[in-house]
């Protein structure tokens, strides 16, 4: 079971959104909280590596918040 904190730790380890991770809100859009397109691509890439799968574009477009990402990871892990 992955939590939002686990996703934030993954981001820190990957150098995503440096300096912003600790202030991110789980249900607010990551774009609105200052993550740029490369932060987003890297985060999705790290999730793909963790799950050893490809996230289709149609699914990726829905993963706009930390909570949505944590939920997706848990769904895929079940």
């Amino acid at each position: 079971m992955k939590t939002v904190d686990d996703i934030i730790q993954l981001m820190k380890n990957a150098g995503v959104a440096r300096g912003k991770c600790d202030s991110l809100l789980p249900d607010q859009s990551l774009a609105d909280q200052g993550l740029d397109s490369y932060d987003r691509m890297t985060l999705l890439f790290e999730i793909e590596e963790m799950l050893d799968t490809d996230i289709p574009t149609s699914e990726a477009s829905k993963l706009t918040t930390l909570q949505a990402i944590a939920d997706y990871v848990n769904e895929q892990s079940n």
Binding site: M41, T42, L44, F45, T57, A60
Partner: protein
Amino acid sequence: MTITPSSHDVRLHAIGTYLPSTRESNLERGAEFGFQSDFLKDVLGFVARSVKESNELTSDLCVRAFEDLCHRSRLKKEDVQLVTVVTQNPDVKIPHTAAIVHNKLGLAKPCMTFDISQGCAGYCHAVAITVGVMETTGLDHAVLFTCDPYTDIIDEHDKDVALLFGDAATASYFTRDGSGYRLIDANFGTMPDSHECLRCEDLLKMDGRAVFNNAAKQVPPSIIELLQRNQMAVDDVDRLLLHQASKYIVEFIRTRLEIPPEKAPFAAADYGNTVSSSIPLLLQECVSSCEFEVLLLSGFGIGFSWGNNLLKAVRAET
């Protein structure tokens, strides 16, 4: 690794370059798209882009690169036996741009000419092809051009591509004498079902996530594979010259390979992603000084395809 090249092995001896002097500032254009200047400087990495004159064609830029090459080497026009142009933006559909360049330069009749349709991995493909043709046919003098002026195929309102690409041309001289770099080995790949990630009918369209994912997943292991089959490690490479797709992608691949920044530079901040010209623009200084023993070139992009060249210094006998 000890390699003792024959004095007659084909080597990359000199590189001429041409960057149009006109620059378009990304800092001004970026604000229109809502990009912060920090993002443009530190992530995208391109502060400005080189822009050709509207009436300049691919062949014109190649001629300017050749002029620079002639200042940097003793190449004589009458000696050139092979001209190839890496481009996906030819002057016209027919004839091939290499024939137009051949004519504009007034080169001799016994000279093979052909274009190579490749993108950001084009230089690495073309180095292998040029060396292969020279070794097979015994040619002594070849000039490999790169030129993909994207200015004409960019939608200036498309924020995915509008701030990325710059115009440039390069001319690489391969011969069998003098100092330079010899191609030791090369590897290539094309990712199945990824050919749409960069596409152009009238204007360029890019799926940025697909490009990033393929670069991140395919390029580092392909570099390791090339080194391992030559009994080498990353530490044996003096300079890794990566295609300058963006500062972020260069940094990402460099970090994955655990290479220090000075060994894998990003140097395109002032002129942008110049497609197949990005690697020879970086390589010019290395070839001129010949100070590094082992170079690894890595190009990746359109296709999605990639190519790596492993080069070793050959120093002129004194």
